[in-house]
Assembly symmetry: C2
Homo-oligomer: 417 residues x 2
């Protein structure tokens, strides 16, 4: 058990107070509700001695647990063989429709079992819940996180309790219901559902898989960075572009690179660029105003996975951009639809709007001089296109069927107008 | 090029007439339209000498091209690095709700890029089209095959032409339209769309990716069998259970095992059991009646991927069951929904109805004595649950949200009734 994880402790992102892993706490009592989750810290000295490239070259495990020394679960027995394998990192060998860096890759997280990056955080959460002896797990979410949790809870034999605002559209709940999760439709807002979920977890002893609360979720997401590093032959690109809602993925990706840097496995940090939808840009606005806290916005965007009024992991997201020399950019819904179209028609990549925001964000970042044409750039694709057929339909609206009779001439005329 | 593939020729499934690969023909002129595609034959002597377990152990390629000697594409340059990786083969470690064999595995083809097994056939078709110098590829389909083709054509930079009956529901066409395929809505039936597609291919020189026609598609599907064999440590299970519409996947899976058997790599053939929906059971009916040709049925089932009036690869499908000592079983829509529910809630596997038919079919086969409780059995899961949200909703209808106010007591009462 001692060599399985080199996790050491937790630290408040605001005041730097330290917490031990055993008196598991989700918030810092000194700071009250901080604007993000606690930092998870590792024994860097142990990692420097034991976590080396050569180790990975000999490791057959293709799940994210191949990086177990850098994950917060200490009991190897708690880890189930859930199929979260290394996701593809592939060259985007197509014309994106604007002047873009030549060395452009996509990290395709749409290929995970439930169809999104959330499976990484869920995998760590399920193992942690099992380590703590929990038999049930809960979250407040209408989307990919809840679908992911419902799937993996079913696989792990854990009870699953999901809290959503009553206004959540029925179609978004099908994947959650299909996996047999207990679904509570709360008469109130998302924030109300979130608070109620926390109360229920405290009362019932459920494991709380909520982004605003649980410090271990970002540790699952940081495996995106570890995989990129390994897939590039143990080096890092100049820039990684990440769609941002709550900021948890952005903070997680940065954390992965920062861990590698602290251990001494990479000589520099890649820039991380966060992409927000124009209609849901609380973090980008705070960044531009030079503030270290967000103002709530009225979130409105086709990219439902990015629609967040008040980002819940804002400290880590802002820190990721600041410490990496990165940037925030914003993109319109029209630009997101155009990026979906380019990815689907030129690269054969079918993604949900939030994922396409990466490519739209690259266009903004390149135009703004935040990305050089000689840079090697990785775009993170977070969710599969089948997650949101209505949005896919909207993005494809210019490609309508051609109606023909049983007549070769009609087809010929359409083919050669 | 000579060692890349050991394909030798084509043979009529009805009269055994031989055809060379170079005068590429899709049907046997002597037999007229045969009830299935031509057989693809390999040089078994060459394979016996050169295709051995040890070869695969050293091969890094995780796509289906790791079996390139056993695939019909002769020009290695025609193969693109499309991401059709080996799909997971995992233990189904849950109570399926009936007395089932203990050693029960699922082959999870829902994890392919477009979300279904069809990506295997498409991968071979795209490479073959490139080998022939084609710049466009066509198919008549409303479903998974067309979505797969549209995705991979976009990735390969080939033009893509899809023909569907005008009555096809709009939602099924979104994935096809999103990838920029040229979509023709034909005023007529599916058979009309199919015929028109063939005429257009002949006139325009498009590559024809149609199951009834193209003998290479089943070769892509046979990699399911090759992967199972390799994933089990170079041995085969007693039984493989396959959902059946046209019969192409069933015939393909059997072909993979038959190739291995002919080469001498396995000592016996697994039984293949074909599962049809009760409302679309042309092959099962022919089998029960001891006939070697199907009568058309009026196909009606929740499993749209299995709704086939006249199976187009019927000779190969019937032969697969006959020569392997297998069986056909039929399952009701209710049994399919129950199987979806079991897979989603107990195994965390979210599949479309056609895929769940495998588990429903196992129940039938076990009850009928066609599967022994000591047998090792593999269930093929063909398509992802996100492919058909309406069906998922129907299967989950008993799991409705519990409406609560902002009140812990209301939740507590619901949790502990």
């Amino acid at each position: 058990m001692s060599d399985f994880s080199f996790v050491r402790g937790l630290r408040c992102v605001t005041c730097d107070a330290e917490f031990s892993l055993d008196d598991l706490t989700y918030t810092c009592p000194a700071c009250g509700p901080v604007r993000g989750t606690l930092d998870v810290e590792y024994d860097i000295g142990q990692l420097r001695a034991a976590f080396i490239d050569e180790l990975l070259k000999e490791r057959d495990d293709r799940t994210l647990w191949r990086y177990h020394e850098l994950l917060p679960v200490r009991d190897a027995e708690a880890v189930l063989p859930l199929p979260i394998e290394v996701s593809p990192l592939v060259w985007l060998a197509c014309d994106p429709g604007f002047t873009a860096p030549k060395r452009l890759l996509v990290k395709d997280d749409t290929r995970h079992p439930s169809g999104s990056s959330k499976d990484r955080a869920t995998s760590v959460a399920v193992a942690h819940a099992r380590e703590l002896g929990k038999t049930a797990i809960a979250a407040a979410s209408t989307g990919n996180a809840a679908a992911s949790l419902a799937m993996f809870a079913a696989r792990a034999g854990l009870g699953c309790y999901i809290f959503v605002p009553e206004s959540a559209p029925a179609a978004k709940l099908t994947q959650i219901r299909a996996h047999g999760a207990h679904l509570f439709a709360v008469r109130g807002t998302y924030d109300d559902a979130f608070s109620l979920c926390a109360e229920v977890c405290a009362q019932e002893g459920f494991y709380n898989r909520n982004t605003a609360t649980n410090p271990y979720l970002g540790e699952g997401k940081k495996t995106i960075a570890l995989e990129i590093w390994e897939q590039l032959g143990f080096r890092v690109p100049e820039t990684v572009i990440v769609p941002v809602g709550d900021g948890c993925i952005l903070g997680g990706v940065f954390k992965g690179f920062r861990d590698l840097h602290e251990i001494g496995l990479i000589p520099r940090l890649p820039r991380v660029i966060g992409v927000q939808a124009e209609g849901s840009a609380a973090l980008a606005s705070a960044w531009r105003a030079g503030q270290d806290a967000c103002m709530a916005v009225s979130a409105e965007t086709i990219a439902d996975s990015l629609a967040v009024a008040m980002p819940r992991d804002q400290v880590k997201a802002l820190r990721a951009v600041r410490e990496s020399g990165g940037q925030f950019v914003t993109v319109s819904d029209a630009a997101i639809c155009e990026a979906m179209h380019v990815l689907a028609t030129r690269a054969g990549l079918f993604v949900e709007p939030a994922a396409a925001a990466s490519l739209a964000g690259l266009k903004e970042a390149a135009a703004g001089g935040h990305v050089g044409l000689d840079d090697e750039v990785v775009l993170l694709l977070t969710g599969h296109g089948l997650k949101d057929i209505a949005a896919a339909d909207r993005a494809a609206h210019n490609n309508q069927p051609i109606h023909v009779g049983l007549d070769l001439d009609e087809v010929t005329a359409a083919l050669h107008p």
